[in-house]
Symmetry: C2
Subunit: 184 residues, 2 copies
């Protein structure tokens, strides 16, 4: 049952969206091609008409997820707003729709060149954007951008790892205060 080119392109997008969400929720090894295709409303056999392998999908889906994270970053133009949004209870709960670095950071180090290269390019962009929100020398601004990104990503990872909601909330609150304002 061949479908129109438009429909096929739309299906490919749906596979990517499902994969991007499910990888972040369950990890690269925690979700299978069949479950991703089912989530996209297709059967698993057709997967290889769109992607060469699961690894290929991981690379494309990660890039897609990171791009969305970039939109979230672009939606704020002040450091405190961005940090508050990043370290919000909503982001804590929405692992599948949130930042890929927080959801998959440790796993990415074990992935192939496609995934890691995509993350590296994205991280550079995000650092550039963040640096613009700080004062001081070029080097000082970059240092603060790195410290802030490390801080918010680490806080989200720890808040999600902990099994006590009160402690998770305390971590997010403390990190919002610490990273939400530019320092000397």
């Amino acid at each position: 049952m061949r479908v129109t080119k438009e429909k096929a392109a739309e299906n490919r997008e749906r596979i990517l969206a499902a994969a991007s969400r499910l990888f972040r929720e369950k990890g690269f090894d925690g979700i299978g091609v069949d479950a991703i295709m089912e989530e996209a409303g297709l059967t698993h056999g057709g997967f290889y008409r769109h992607f060469r392998s699961k690894d290929d999908l991981a690379a494309e889906a990660t890039a897609r997820g990171l791009a969305r994270g970039g939109e979230m970053l672009a939606a704020h133009d002040r450091l405190a707003d961005y940090v508050d949004a990043y370290l919000s209870p909503e982001h804590l709960a929405d692992r599948g729709g949130g930042c890929s670095m927080a959801a998959l950071g440790c796993d990415i180090a074990r992935q192939g060149a496609g995934v890691r290269g995509g993350l590296t390019a994205y991280l550079r962009q995000r650092l550039d954007r963040l640096a613009g929100w700080f004062g001081g020398s070029r080097a000082a601004r970059r240092r603060q951008a790195i410290a802030t990104l490390s801080g918010v990503v680490g806080a989200m990872v720890l808040a999600r790892a902990v099994d006590d909601p009160a402690l998770a909330d305390e971590i997010l609150t403390a990190a919002r205060q610490a990273f939400g304002q530019a320092k000397a």
Copy 2:
């Protein structure tokens, strides 16, 4: 071929040590019971004389790995020394022997009660110890402990995820400067 109680206890330790290292290196889903037993110098069939399941092993091995991290923390009595050691190139390279929060942080959120409970208890301890290195009110010290731990863990996660060694080094260096000294 029954072995002495002492030998059996020693074998159990070897399984735990191998699991602790391999889980950190490859992730909970990235390594099998058979490979862990082989690393411990045993065959996979005997695994269930020591542990009820792979999940059980994950919980015990994670607790073991975190305890070692605690020793590393105890080995330093100044903030800057600890941060320098944590954010060193040696720690970056030694994923299997390093901090479990940096190696497995994102994966732990998806694990069972045993693993998450162990991490939570350990994280509380580490925060208490870190807080002692800061000045100010009790609340301020705790906030700085949380921000520092988030910062160093996040920096290590990002430095390992990136595929450019120069960028990884830049991240570690910037984070050492940012988190290595107590702030107001």
